[in-house]
């Protein structure tokens, strides 16, 4: 016989102001199977929980319904209370009469009626609940970090530093990300390479970190604590274990005029190349699309030059490796927006209209001009440089709606670097607002204005065109309310920060959410900023939103802390809400096998005593099942049931309404 206790919570006034709890108690007291029904101001408080526990003990209750808030708020609280009173915690149901009732209704009579119905239906459900036991699953204490920019490197170092193994996957030939392209960094103006390269080297030399460059994550299966990932190591045509990084091959490669991606096209590279001098690993890669041998079957000069046998291998193929990991950190970073959408700024038309990232390369000591600010068109020093901020950001019509956050800062930095490198510099900055919130940030932009004489003009630029060898920048100064025209030698666009072009597709592949642009979604913007909605997958760096280095690094360490928290346990307790297949009725159509988003369903053979195959049926792996119920709804023969939400329970719940 069912003996159900029903506990009606007022939630202060939250429920009681809209639901007549007295009536609710009266109605439920008469409901068949209800042994005891109480109301109280706050059942989640200590005395409230004590009441529930005492009622369980004194009345030998077989089930409990707390009519209160959403199970997301207090299911754990009351499950614990039940367990402490000796009742299986899964014999508890929360009837949500707050979010689903009192908060959304104004008519007290109707709200009360609805609250009664909701609570009744949960009583009918709980009568059919079964005692369940949490499933414990082992945790693989190894992490996968995807993306080897500063964020990924930092996360990997933190996890590895705590003694856990890390697989760091980077799709480019070298780790480092955008930070390796920067000249000096705001707000301290320290050289980017100087602070980054030690981290890169530490990562590759760390005994706990396995760095896989020129590799991509192809598949992610499994769940928190137990992911299986498949990594494709792209054919590099150079055996990095054998290669000493001497660079002789690069010297001899006859294809020398390939615009270097790393130099934003301002410098050239060869077909066999390392992207930059401090690349880690400092081992070349062959660009198959540009290599003469791959194009017409003749050359192999690099191979002939190489002193080491079989180091350069034109037959190399992509290889696949599988890893088991317990947690994944996504740190895939950003791209800059393609500025050619702004035809009026002349990007792509005039050589001396460049992006901020190109300016970084010009200002970089290791860059194509050895750190001199020279115009790409004629190599002359520009006398006047115009910087256009928000060239894409905060522009819903052509660019993106959001603020890219870092451009105000790096534009100020660019003006400063220009002033430091070129005396008599004349920089003019068109801006909408100067957003410089951050430690030392406002001081930094002030310095650009006050010490380095950057001239800030508040307003948008309407057009850039060439006249008598000058770039004429036409815009408005909204503070003076006047149109302005500046004759410049170079124009630098602070392009918007956008997600990686394949960000959405990649998110789908690994199973995380993204926003309208393709930046990855955190589980909660304020309270869970480094977790994704997929348990065990964490985020850091600019793949989540535009970020500067301090923020990226802070978030990377936060993600690492989450991973290490997970890895502090050997076992994870999982909800026993898992599906099971009724083998006698399963028709073996495999619909559920396709439908299951977690690949938790396998095919199983049923054999007779002599080993003859009778039939094949679906079989759920409870370790993988997340209890989503997709298979249950899919199965036409109604052969799958979900523990904790069985068809009988749901049916009783519905019929009670």
């Amino acid at each position: 016989m069912a003996k159900i206790g029903v506990f009606v919570c007022h939630c202060g006034e939250n429920i009681a102001s809209k639901v007549d709890t007295g009536n609710l108690v009266k109605a439920l007291s008469d409901h068949p199977g209800v042994e005891i029904c109480n109301e109280y101001k706050y059942f989640c408080s200590d005395p409230g929980q004590e009441t529930v526990k005492r009622a369980i003990r004194e009345n030998n209750l077989t089930g409990v319904v707390v009519a209160a808030c959403s199970p997301r708020m207090h299911e754990t609280t009351f499950r614990k209370a039940c367990a402490e009173a000796g009742l299986n915690p899964y014999m508890l149901e929360l009837a949500n009469i707050r979010e689903q009732c009192s908060w959304v209704h104004s008519d007290k009579d109707q709200a009360t009626e609805k609250a009664i119905e909701i609570t009744r239906s949960l009583v009918e459900k709980v009568k059919r609940n079964n005692e369940l036991k949490p499933i414990s699953v082992p945790v693989t204490r190894r992490a996968l970090v995807i993306g080897g920019g500063i964020a990924g490197i930092q996360a990997a170092l933190d996890i590895a530093g705590a003694g856990r193994e890390v697989i760091l996957v980077e799709r480019e030939p070298s780790i480092g990300g955008h930070m390796s392209q920067l000249s000096e960094t705001f707000p301290t103006l320290d050289c980017s390479q100087c602070i980054l390269t030690p981290r890169m080297v530490e990562a590759i030399q760390h005994p706990n970190i396995k760095v896989l460059t020129y590799s991509e994550v192809e598949e992610v299966d499994g769940y928190i604590g137990n992911f299986k990932v498949k990594v494709r190591k792209k054919a590099r045509y150079v055996d990095i274990d054998k290669c000493t990084g001497c660079g002789d091959c690069i010297q001899k490669c006859p294809v020398k005029k390939i615009p270097s991606e790393f130099e934003c096209g301002l410098g050239n590279r060869t077909a066999i190349y390392t992207p930059f001098a401090q690349a880690v690993p400092n081992k070349p890669v062959i660009d198959k699309n540009r290599c003469t041998y791959f194009k017409n079957g003749k050359c192999k000069i690099c191979q002939k030059t190489c002193q080491i046998e079989n180091c350069i291998d034109f037959e190399m193929q992509d290889t696949y490796e599988e890893y088991e990991v317990g947690a994944i950190v996504v740190a895939t970073g950003f791209q800059i927006q393609d500025t050619s959408v702004y035809g009026e700024y002349g990007y792509g038309k005039y050589k001396d209209v460049i992006t901020g990232l190109s300016f970084e390369r010009l200002a970089s000591a290791s860059g194509p001009t050895a750190g001199k600010i020279l115009r790409p068109s004629d190599g002359k020093e520009p006398e006047t440089v115009v910087f256009i901020q928000c060239a894409g950001s905060r522009d819903p019509s052509k660019g993106v709606k959001y603020c890219s956050k870092i451009c105000c800062m790096y534009t100020a930095k660019h003006a400063m670097l220009y002033a430091h490198k070129h005396h008599g510099s004349n920089s003019k900055i068109f801006y909408m607002d100067i957003r410089a919130a951050g430690k030392g940030y406002d001081e930094f932009t002030r310095r650009a204005i006050e010490e380095d004489e950057a001239e800030y003009l508040r307003g948008r630029v309407s057009k850039v065109f060439e006249e008598n060898g000058k770039l004429i920048v036409r815009g408005v100064d909204t503070l003076l309310g006047k149109p302005v025209e500046v004759a410049a030698d170079m124009v630098v666009l602070a392009t918007a920060i956008v997600p990686q072009p394949d960000a959405k597709e990649f998110a789908k592949r690994i199973g995380i959410g993204y926003d309208e642009y393709g930046f990855y979604n955190e589980a909660h913007l304020k309270l869970r900023p480094v977790e994704t909605a997929t348990a065990g997958i964490y985020l850091c760096g600019a793949c989540q939103s535009p970020k500067d280095i301090p923020d990226s690094v802070a978030q990377a360490s936060a993600a690492a802390a989450k991973v290490l928290g997970l890895f502090s346990r050997e076992q994870l307790e999982r909800e026993p809400v898992v599906a099971a297949v009724g083998e006698s009725t399963c028709a073996g159509c495999w619909g559920c096998v396709y439908a299951c988003p977690y690949n938790a369903i396998e095919q199983k053979e049923i054999r007779d005593r002599n080993g003859n195959l009778i039939k094949e049926v679906a079989s759920v792996n409870p370790g993988l099942c997340q209890g989503c119920g997709t298979c249950v709804t899919f199965c036409r023969s109604n052969s799958i049931d979900l523990a904790g939400f069985t068809e009988k329970q749901i049916f009783a719940e519905v019929m009670a309404l």
Binding site: E505, K508, S584, T585, A587, G588, C589, W590, G591, C592, Y594, A595, P597, L613, I614, E616, F634, R636, S637, N638, S639, E647, K648, F651, A652
Partner: protein, 276 residues
């Protein structure tokens, strides 16, 4: 030699060589214009096969009879394009192994001429307009369009009247090759989701459940329609569901046997109109 003779001797040859254990075809029916399924196990029996424009049934439904193919032996079967489509669907749903089915394919043109279809393995038929053509006869489309043109209320009234006739004999389920489940959801009584009595609610529940279960799986053979003793135009429901699936997922059931069940599988370019 006419097609009937040709296929009789092909069937006889399949049986006498032992390649197949059984050939499912048509024999004479109770009246001159009806044909009934004939199961030939010997070359002699194969001589009784009839093949003419009255052979419209979709014989693939017998292939999923419990235990028929569990010995791994092959079976021959006379199939029109719709039957071939259903075999494709059954293969993609793992109910048949392609190598176990030998097809004697034919098509009926202009309602009277019976022409052979080249090939004998299901893979021989996977392409080709005849198989791909999913257009049901014009009168079906016309009838469907008439219903589509109705207002929601009129449409509801129409189907209410039609479904009111249903006597829950489950002949539609019995004849449909896609209704191969050993236990149909209507036979589940713990809990009883679909009520068994043939009142309005029960009838709606049954006919709608069947419509959903066939969405993206119906071969458009019309067997259900013909089987229904009270003449409910069932294929119109299935035609409509097929149309929905086609417009949403660019998917026509039975085009080939490599298709993944459309409503169970996920493609990256699937529309997400249901996500608000």
């Amino acid at each position: 030699m006419g097609i009937q003779e040709q296929y009789r001797s092909e069937a006889a040859a399949l049986l006498s060589s032992g390649e197949v254990k059984l050939v499912i075809g048509f024999g004479a029916g109770s009246t001159a214009d009806r044909r009934r399924p004939l199961f030939a196990r010997t070359p002699e029996e194969a001589e009784k096969f009839v093949l003419d424009a009255a052979c419209i049934a979709n014989l693939s439904t017998y292939l999923v009879a419990e235990g028929l193919l569990s010995d791994g032996k092959k079976v021959g079967v006379f199939l029109k394009p719709d039957g071939i489509r259903s075999v494709n669907i059954l293969i993609s749903e793992a109910q048949l192994k392609p190598e176990q089915v030998v097809i004697l394919g034919y098509a009926i043109e202009n309602g009277k001429d019976v022409v052979p279809l080249e090939g004998c393995n299901i893979s021989d038929f996977s392409i080709g307009e005849k198989i791909r053509s999913h257009t049901p006869p014009t009168h079906v489309i016309e009838a469907a369009e008439k219903i589509e043109a109705m207002s929601a209320e009129e449409r509801f009234e129409f189907w209410k009247e039609e479904f009111a006739k249903c006597i829950k004999c489950y002949a539609c389920r019995q004849v449909c090759p896609m209704c191969y489940c050993r236990r149909c959801i209507v036979d589940v009584n713990q809990p009883q989701w679909v009520s068994t009595s043939s009142h309005t609610l029960g009838n709606f529940e049954w006919n709608l459940v069947r419509a959903f279960h066939l969405a993206g799986r119906c071969a458009a053979c019309g067997a259900c329609d013909r089987a229904c003793p009270v003449n409910i135009p069932l294929r119109l429901v299935n035609y409509r569901m097929g149309k929905e699936v086609r417009s949403a997922f660019d998917y026509v059931a039975g085009e080939n046997s490599d298709q993944k069940p459309v409503l169970a599988s996920f493609k990256q370019d699937d529309p997400e109109t249901f996500i608000l």
